[in-house]
Protein backbone atom coordinates (compact mmCIF):
# COMPACT_ATOMS: atom_id res chain seq x y z
CA UNK A 1 0.00 0.00 0.00
CA UNK A 2 2.98 2.27 0.52
CA UNK A 3 3.82 2.17 -3.17
CA UNK A 4 0.21 2.96 -4.08
CA UNK A 5 0.15 5.88 -1.67
CA UNK A 6 3.54 7.21 -2.70
CA UNK A 7 2.62 7.24 -6.38
CA UNK A 8 -0.77 8.80 -5.71
CA UNK A 9 0.73 11.48 -3.47
CA UNK A 10 3.28 12.48 -6.10
CA UNK A 11 0.69 12.49 -8.87
CA UNK A 12 -2.03 14.50 -7.12
CA UNK A 13 0.32 16.49 -4.84
CA UNK A 14 -2.13 16.60 -1.97
CA UNK A 15 -2.27 14.48 1.19
CA UNK A 16 -6.01 14.13 1.47
CA UNK A 17 -6.64 13.54 -2.19
CA UNK A 18 -3.88 10.93 -2.24
CA UNK A 19 -5.61 8.99 0.52
CA UNK A 20 -8.92 9.18 -1.30
CA UNK A 21 -7.24 7.97 -4.45
CA UNK A 22 -5.71 4.97 -2.68
CA UNK A 23 -9.04 4.06 -1.15
CA UNK A 24 -10.81 4.43 -4.47
CA UNK A 25 -8.09 2.40 -6.19
CA UNK A 26 -8.46 -0.50 -3.81
CA UNK A 27 -12.19 -0.46 -4.34
CA UNK A 28 -11.66 -0.48 -8.08
CA UNK A 29 -9.14 -3.26 -7.77
CA UNK A 30 -11.69 -5.20 -5.81
CA UNK A 31 -14.46 -4.56 -8.27
CA UNK A 32 -12.42 -5.25 -11.37
CA UNK A 33 -10.49 -8.14 -10.04
CA UNK A 34 -11.57 -10.14 -13.07
CA UNK A 35 -9.29 -7.89 -15.08
CA UNK A 36 -6.25 -9.10 -13.20
CA UNK A 37 -4.35 -11.42 -15.49
CA UNK A 38 -2.18 -12.99 -12.83
CA UNK A 39 0.85 -10.94 -13.80
CA UNK A 40 2.84 -8.54 -11.66
CA UNK A 41 0.36 -7.52 -8.95
CA UNK A 42 2.27 -4.41 -7.97
CA UNK A 43 2.21 -3.13 -11.55
CA UNK A 44 -1.47 -4.00 -11.79
CA UNK A 45 -2.35 -2.09 -8.64
CA UNK A 46 -0.20 0.89 -9.58
CA UNK A 47 -1.86 1.01 -13.00
CA UNK A 48 -5.21 1.36 -11.22
CA UNK A 49 -3.81 4.04 -8.93
CA UNK A 50 -2.49 5.89 -11.95
CA UNK A 51 -5.84 5.74 -13.72
CA UNK A 52 -7.65 6.86 -10.61
CA UNK A 53 -5.33 9.85 -10.35
CA UNK A 54 -5.97 10.70 -13.97
CA UNK A 55 -9.71 10.52 -13.47
CA UNK A 56 -9.39 12.81 -10.46
CA UNK A 57 -7.32 15.24 -12.49
CA UNK A 58 -9.82 15.35 -15.33
CA UNK A 59 -12.62 15.97 -12.87
CA UNK A 60 -10.57 18.68 -11.22
CA UNK A 61 -9.89 20.40 -14.53
CA UNK A 62 -13.51 20.22 -15.57
CA UNK A 63 -14.88 21.45 -12.24
CA UNK A 64 -12.60 24.42 -11.96
CA UNK A 65 -12.87 25.07 -15.70
CA UNK A 66 -9.31 26.16 -15.35
CA UNK A 67 -6.34 25.70 -17.55
CA UNK A 68 -5.17 22.15 -17.02
CA UNK A 69 -3.24 21.88 -13.79
CA UNK A 70 0.03 20.90 -15.31
CA UNK A 71 0.13 23.63 -17.85
CA UNK A 72 -0.24 26.15 -15.11
CA UNK A 73 2.36 24.41 -13.07
CA UNK A 74 4.73 24.33 -15.92
CA UNK A 75 4.17 27.70 -17.50
CA UNK A 76 7.35 29.53 -18.36
CA UNK A 77 6.88 32.06 -15.61
CA UNK A 78 6.80 30.12 -12.37
CA UNK A 79 5.85 33.11 -10.31
CA UNK A 80 2.72 33.84 -12.28
CA UNK A 81 0.82 30.86 -11.00
CA UNK A 82 1.77 29.62 -7.57
CA UNK A 83 0.37 26.26 -6.57
CA UNK A 84 -1.44 25.61 -3.32
CA UNK A 85 1.67 26.46 -1.38
CA UNK A 86 2.61 30.04 -0.90
CA UNK A 87 6.10 31.15 -1.66
CA UNK A 88 7.40 30.81 1.87
CA UNK A 89 6.24 27.23 1.94
CA UNK A 90 7.90 26.57 -1.34
CA UNK A 91 11.26 27.69 -0.14
CA UNK A 92 11.00 25.30 2.75
CA UNK A 93 10.12 22.43 0.49
CA UNK A 94 13.46 22.10 -1.14
CA UNK A 95 14.21 22.99 -4.67
CA UNK A 96 14.46 19.52 -6.06
CA UNK A 97 11.26 18.25 -4.57
CA UNK A 98 9.45 21.32 -5.77
CA UNK A 99 10.91 20.92 -9.25
CA UNK A 100 9.66 17.33 -9.40
CA UNK A 101 6.19 18.51 -8.42
CA UNK A 102 6.34 21.02 -11.25
CA UNK A 103 7.06 18.41 -13.89
CA UNK A 104 4.16 17.61 -16.19
CA UNK A 105 2.44 14.50 -14.90
CA UNK A 106 3.55 12.35 -17.87
CA UNK A 107 7.16 12.97 -16.93
CA UNK A 108 6.65 13.02 -13.20
CA UNK A 109 5.09 9.58 -13.05
CA UNK A 110 7.91 7.79 -14.86
CA UNK A 111 10.50 9.59 -12.77
CA UNK A 112 8.80 8.64 -9.51
CA UNK A 113 8.38 5.03 -10.55
CA UNK A 114 11.98 4.81 -11.66
CA UNK A 115 13.73 6.71 -8.87
CA UNK A 116 11.53 6.21 -5.83
CA UNK A 117 9.87 2.89 -6.59
CA UNK A 118 13.02 1.65 -8.31
CA UNK A 119 10.99 -0.06 -10.99
CA UNK A 120 12.51 -1.30 -14.23
CA UNK A 121 11.64 0.20 -17.62
CA UNK A 122 9.58 -2.88 -18.33
CA UNK A 123 7.58 -2.56 -15.13
CA UNK A 124 6.93 1.12 -15.78
CA UNK A 125 5.86 0.29 -19.32
CA UNK A 126 3.42 -2.22 -17.94
CA UNK A 127 1.89 0.26 -15.45
CA UNK A 128 1.55 3.04 -18.02
CA UNK A 129 0.71 0.85 -21.04
CA UNK A 130 3.44 2.68 -22.94
CA UNK A 131 6.13 1.19 -25.15
CA UNK A 132 9.50 0.91 -23.41
CA UNK A 133 11.00 3.42 -25.85
CA UNK A 134 8.44 6.01 -24.76
CA UNK A 135 9.17 5.29 -21.11
CA UNK A 136 12.85 5.87 -21.79
CA UNK A 137 12.35 9.10 -23.68
CA UNK A 138 9.95 10.47 -21.07
CA UNK A 139 12.35 9.58 -18.32
CA UNK A 140 15.15 11.25 -20.18
CA UNK A 141 13.11 14.41 -20.72
CA UNK A 142 12.01 14.39 -17.10
CA UNK A 143 15.63 14.32 -16.00
CA UNK A 144 16.56 17.07 -18.40
CA UNK A 145 13.74 19.34 -17.27
CA UNK A 146 14.45 18.59 -13.67
CA UNK A 147 18.06 19.60 -14.07
CA UNK A 148 17.09 22.82 -15.84
CA UNK A 149 14.56 23.65 -13.17
CA UNK A 150 16.94 22.92 -10.33
CA UNK A 151 19.69 24.97 -11.93
CA UNK A 152 17.38 27.95 -12.49
CA UNK A 153 16.03 27.81 -8.97
CA UNK A 154 19.44 27.56 -7.45
CA UNK A 155 20.53 30.59 -9.41
CA UNK A 156 17.38 32.50 -8.45
CA UNK A 157 17.96 31.66 -4.83
CA UNK A 158 21.57 32.76 -5.03
CA UNK A 159 20.89 35.97 -6.90
Amino acid sequence: MNAAHNLARWLVRDDEVAQDVVQESYLRAFRFFDGYDGGDSKAWLLAIVRNTCRTWQHRQNRDTKAVPFDEVAHSANHNAAPLEQDLADREKMGILRNCIEMLPVDFREVLIMRELEEMSYREIASVTSLPIGTVMSRLSRARKRLEECATNRTMEAAG
Binding site: N6, F33, Y36, S41, I100, L116, M136, L139
Partner: protein
Protein backbone atom coordinates in the same frame (compact mmCIF):
# COMPACT_ATOMS: atom_id res chain seq x y z
CA UNK B 1 30.89 2.58 -29.31
CA UNK B 2 29.48 6.03 -30.00
CA UNK B 3 28.05 8.54 -27.57
CA UNK B 4 24.39 7.99 -26.82
CA UNK B 5 22.25 9.62 -24.16
CA UNK B 6 19.96 6.59 -24.17
CA UNK B 7 22.81 4.24 -23.46
CA UNK B 8 24.19 6.39 -20.68
CA UNK B 9 20.80 6.49 -19.01
CA UNK B 10 20.17 2.79 -19.49
CA UNK B 11 23.59 2.20 -17.97
CA UNK B 12 22.71 4.49 -15.08
CA UNK B 13 19.44 2.61 -14.56
CA UNK B 14 21.17 -0.75 -14.78
CA UNK B 15 19.03 -1.79 -17.70
CA UNK B 16 21.84 -3.07 -19.93
CA UNK B 17 22.76 -6.69 -20.27
CA UNK B 18 26.21 -7.57 -18.93
CA UNK B 19 27.90 -7.30 -22.33
CA UNK B 20 26.41 -3.89 -23.13
CA UNK B 21 27.05 -2.83 -19.57
CA UNK B 22 30.73 -3.66 -19.84
CA UNK B 23 30.96 -1.89 -23.22
CA UNK B 24 29.29 1.22 -21.80
CA UNK B 25 31.60 1.16 -18.82
CA UNK B 26 34.60 1.02 -21.08
CA UNK B 27 33.29 3.85 -23.20
CA UNK B 28 32.60 6.04 -20.16
CA UNK B 29 36.14 5.48 -18.96
CA UNK B 30 37.56 6.91 -22.17
CA UNK B 31 35.02 9.54 -23.26
CA UNK B 32 35.13 12.75 -21.19
CA UNK B 33 31.86 14.10 -22.64
CA UNK B 34 29.86 11.02 -21.79
CA UNK B 35 31.46 10.58 -18.41
CA UNK B 36 30.53 14.16 -17.57
CA UNK B 37 26.92 13.55 -18.60
CA UNK B 38 26.93 10.36 -16.59
CA UNK B 39 28.37 12.06 -13.51
CA UNK B 40 25.65 14.72 -13.63
CA UNK B 41 22.91 12.11 -13.98
CA UNK B 42 24.30 10.11 -11.13
CA UNK B 43 24.42 13.14 -8.95
CA UNK B 44 20.83 13.96 -9.83
CA UNK B 45 19.72 10.42 -9.04
CA UNK B 46 21.39 10.64 -5.65
CA UNK B 47 19.79 13.99 -4.95
CA UNK B 48 16.34 12.72 -5.87
CA UNK B 49 16.73 9.82 -3.48
CA UNK B 50 17.99 12.13 -0.77
CA UNK B 51 15.60 15.05 -1.18
CA UNK B 52 12.37 13.64 -2.60
CA UNK B 53 10.28 12.12 0.17
CA UNK B 54 8.84 8.65 -0.13
CA UNK B 55 5.27 9.04 1.03
CA UNK B 56 4.43 5.95 3.04
CA UNK B 57 0.75 5.26 3.57
CA UNK B 58 -0.35 6.93 6.81
CA UNK B 59 -1.27 4.45 9.56
CA UNK B 60 -5.01 5.13 9.46
CA UNK B 61 -5.33 4.51 5.74
CA UNK B 62 -5.04 0.74 5.93
CA UNK B 63 -7.98 0.61 8.31
CA UNK B 64 -10.02 2.98 6.16
CA UNK B 65 -9.44 0.83 3.12
CA UNK B 66 -10.33 -2.32 5.01
CA UNK B 67 -13.61 -0.82 6.11
CA UNK B 68 -14.34 0.51 2.65
CA UNK B 69 -13.72 -2.91 1.15
CA UNK B 70 -16.01 -4.55 3.68
CA UNK B 71 -18.76 -2.06 2.93
CA UNK B 72 -18.29 -2.61 -0.77
CA UNK B 73 -19.37 -6.18 -0.46
CA UNK B 74 -22.94 -6.15 -1.58
CA UNK B 75 -25.49 -8.02 0.49
CA UNK B 76 -25.32 -11.56 -0.80
CA UNK B 77 -27.91 -12.45 -3.33
CA UNK B 78 -28.63 -15.88 -4.75
CA UNK B 79 -26.37 -15.46 -7.72
CA UNK B 80 -23.55 -13.74 -5.96
CA UNK B 81 -23.37 -15.74 -2.83
CA UNK B 82 -20.94 -18.17 -4.33
CA UNK B 83 -18.93 -15.60 -6.17
CA UNK B 84 -18.06 -13.20 -3.39
CA UNK B 85 -16.03 -15.41 -1.11
CA UNK B 86 -13.88 -16.25 -4.08
CA UNK B 87 -13.52 -12.69 -4.98
CA UNK B 88 -12.59 -11.65 -1.46
CA UNK B 89 -10.15 -14.47 -1.27
CA UNK B 90 -8.63 -13.58 -4.57
CA UNK B 91 -8.31 -9.92 -3.79
CA UNK B 92 -6.96 -10.71 -0.36
CA UNK B 93 -4.39 -12.95 -1.96
CA UNK B 94 -3.47 -10.25 -4.39
CA UNK B 95 -3.12 -7.61 -1.73
CA UNK B 96 -1.05 -10.01 0.28
CA UNK B 97 1.14 -10.47 -2.73
CA UNK B 98 1.57 -6.73 -3.04
CA UNK B 99 2.45 -6.54 0.63
CA UNK B 100 4.89 -9.37 0.35
CA UNK B 101 6.35 -7.78 -2.75
CA UNK B 102 7.00 -4.55 -0.93
CA UNK B 103 8.36 -6.58 1.91
CA UNK B 104 10.69 -8.37 -0.45
CA UNK B 105 11.85 -5.09 -1.88
CA UNK B 106 12.52 -3.86 1.62
CA UNK B 107 14.31 -7.08 2.39
CA UNK B 108 16.36 -6.67 -0.70
CA UNK B 109 17.28 -3.13 0.18
CA UNK B 110 18.16 -4.06 3.70
CA UNK B 111 20.05 -7.13 2.82
CA UNK B 112 23.60 -6.12 3.44
CA UNK B 113 24.71 -9.69 4.04
CA UNK B 114 23.85 -10.88 0.56
CA UNK B 115 25.26 -7.68 -0.83
CA UNK B 116 28.49 -8.07 1.10
CA UNK B 117 28.88 -11.60 -0.13
CA UNK B 118 28.23 -10.54 -3.72
CA UNK B 119 30.79 -7.76 -3.42
CA UNK B 120 33.32 -10.08 -1.89
CA UNK B 121 32.72 -12.79 -4.49
CA UNK B 122 33.21 -10.37 -7.38
CA UNK B 123 36.35 -8.95 -5.80
CA UNK B 124 37.77 -12.46 -5.38
CA UNK B 125 36.84 -13.31 -8.93
CA UNK B 126 38.55 -10.22 -10.33
CA UNK B 127 41.61 -10.81 -8.17
CA UNK B 128 41.85 -14.37 -9.35
CA UNK B 129 41.75 -13.23 -12.98
CA UNK B 130 44.13 -10.32 -12.64
CA UNK B 131 46.84 -12.00 -10.69
CA UNK B 132 48.54 -15.24 -11.22
CA UNK B 133 46.73 -16.78 -8.32
CA UNK B 134 43.86 -18.47 -10.11
CA UNK B 135 44.49 -21.95 -8.78
CA UNK B 136 46.39 -23.46 -5.89
CA UNK B 137 45.92 -26.93 -7.22
CA UNK B 138 45.71 -27.25 -10.96
CA UNK B 139 43.86 -30.33 -11.99
CA UNK B 140 40.96 -31.35 -14.11
CA UNK B 141 40.36 -34.37 -11.91
CA UNK B 142 37.92 -33.96 -9.05
CA UNK B 143 39.62 -36.81 -7.22
CA UNK B 144 42.76 -34.69 -7.02
CA UNK B 145 41.05 -31.41 -6.21
CA UNK B 146 38.74 -32.59 -3.48
CA UNK B 147 41.37 -34.26 -1.24
CA UNK B 148 43.63 -31.25 -1.71
CA UNK B 149 41.23 -29.17 0.40
CA UNK B 150 41.45 -31.62 3.32
CA UNK B 151 43.41 -30.01 6.12
CA UNK B 152 43.07 -26.57 4.56
CA UNK B 153 39.39 -26.19 5.29
CA UNK B 154 37.14 -27.45 8.04
CA UNK B 155 34.72 -28.90 5.52
CA UNK B 156 34.87 -31.00 2.38
CA UNK B 157 33.59 -29.20 -0.70
CA UNK B 158 31.45 -30.95 -3.19
CA UNK B 159 33.51 -31.11 -6.41
CA UNK B 160 31.77 -32.06 -9.64
CA UNK B 161 33.21 -33.23 -12.90
CA UNK B 162 31.48 -31.37 -15.74
CA UNK B 163 33.96 -31.65 -18.60
CA UNK B 164 31.58 -33.65 -20.75
CA UNK B 165 29.01 -30.87 -20.40
CA UNK B 166 31.48 -28.22 -21.55
CA UNK B 167 32.61 -26.92 -18.16
CA UNK B 168 36.04 -28.49 -17.56
CA UNK B 169 37.44 -28.22 -14.05
CA UNK B 170 40.67 -26.22 -13.92
CA UNK B 171 41.49 -26.57 -10.28
CA UNK B 172 40.85 -25.22 -6.81
CA UNK B 173 42.15 -22.73 -4.31
CA UNK B 174 41.36 -21.49 -0.84
CA UNK B 175 39.87 -18.01 -0.80
CA UNK B 176 38.07 -15.65 1.54
CA UNK B 177 34.46 -14.59 1.14
CA UNK B 178 32.97 -12.21 3.68
CA UNK B 179 35.65 -13.04 6.21
CA UNK B 180 35.53 -16.77 6.06
CA UNK B 181 37.70 -19.38 4.40
CA UNK B 182 35.92 -20.95 1.49
CA UNK B 183 36.67 -23.38 -1.28
CA UNK B 184 36.99 -21.83 -4.72
CA UNK B 185 36.55 -24.21 -7.62
CA UNK B 186 37.60 -23.00 -11.02
CA UNK B 187 35.76 -24.13 -14.09
CA UNK B 188 36.28 -23.04 -17.64
CA UNK B 189 33.72 -22.31 -20.30
CA UNK B 190 35.47 -21.83 -23.62
CA UNK B 191 37.77 -18.86 -22.93
CA UNK B 192 35.90 -17.81 -19.79
CA UNK B 193 36.52 -18.60 -16.17
CA UNK B 194 33.81 -19.47 -13.70
CA UNK B 195 34.76 -19.20 -10.05
CA UNK B 196 32.50 -21.30 -7.85
CA UNK B 197 32.76 -20.45 -4.16
CA UNK B 198 31.31 -22.89 -1.70
CA UNK B 199 31.03 -23.21 2.06
CA UNK B 200 28.71 -24.94 4.49
CA UNK B 201 25.37 -23.54 5.66
CA UNK B 202 23.85 -20.20 4.74
CA UNK B 203 20.31 -19.13 3.90
CA UNK B 204 18.71 -20.18 0.65
CA UNK B 205 18.20 -17.40 -1.89
CA UNK B 206 14.70 -16.05 -2.08
CA UNK B 207 14.74 -15.62 -5.83
CA UNK B 208 16.49 -17.20 -8.72
CA UNK B 209 17.63 -13.92 -10.14
CA UNK B 210 21.03 -13.38 -11.59
CA UNK B 211 22.85 -10.58 -9.84
CA UNK B 212 24.80 -8.34 -12.17
CA UNK B 213 27.72 -6.48 -10.72
CA UNK B 214 30.64 -4.75 -12.37
CA UNK B 215 29.93 -6.55 -15.61
CA UNK B 216 29.93 -10.00 -14.02
CA UNK B 217 27.02 -12.31 -13.49
CA UNK B 218 26.48 -13.91 -10.13
CA UNK B 219 24.19 -16.71 -9.19
CA UNK B 220 23.90 -18.42 -5.89
CA UNK B 221 22.06 -21.42 -4.61
CA UNK B 222 22.09 -23.84 -1.72
CA UNK B 223 21.63 -27.55 -1.25
CA UNK B 224 20.98 -29.44 1.96
CA UNK B 225 24.31 -28.51 3.49
CA UNK B 226 26.23 -26.03 1.33
CA UNK B 227 26.01 -22.57 -0.19
CA UNK B 228 27.33 -22.02 -3.71
CA UNK B 229 28.16 -18.73 -5.41
CA UNK B 230 29.08 -18.84 -9.08
CA UNK B 231 30.57 -15.77 -10.72
CA UNK B 232 31.71 -15.27 -14.27
CA UNK B 233 31.46 -13.13 -17.36
CA UNK B 234 29.61 -15.88 -19.20
CA UNK B 235 25.99 -15.08 -20.04
CA UNK B 236 23.26 -15.37 -17.45
CA UNK B 237 21.83 -18.32 -19.38
CA UNK B 238 25.10 -20.21 -19.35
CA UNK B 239 25.54 -19.56 -15.66
CA UNK B 240 22.08 -20.96 -14.99
CA UNK B 241 22.91 -23.96 -17.11
CA UNK B 242 26.05 -24.47 -15.03
CA UNK B 243 24.02 -24.21 -11.84
CA UNK B 244 21.49 -26.73 -13.08
CA UNK B 245 24.24 -29.20 -13.97
CA UNK B 246 25.81 -28.71 -10.59
CA UNK B 247 22.65 -29.23 -8.61
Amino acid sequence: MTCSQDLIEAYLDEELDPVQHAAAEQHLATCPDCSQVYARLRQQKARIRADAPYYNAPPGLRQLVRVALQNAEEPPTRSRVREWPWRSLAIAASLLLVTSLSWNILQFRSRPVEDDVAKSVVADHIRSLLGTHLVDVASSDQHTVKPWFAGKLDFAPNVKYLEAEGFPLAGGRVDYVADRRVAALIYRRRQHVINLFTWPGGPAPRTETIISRDGYNLLYWTDSSMTYWAVSDVSAGELRHFRDLYK
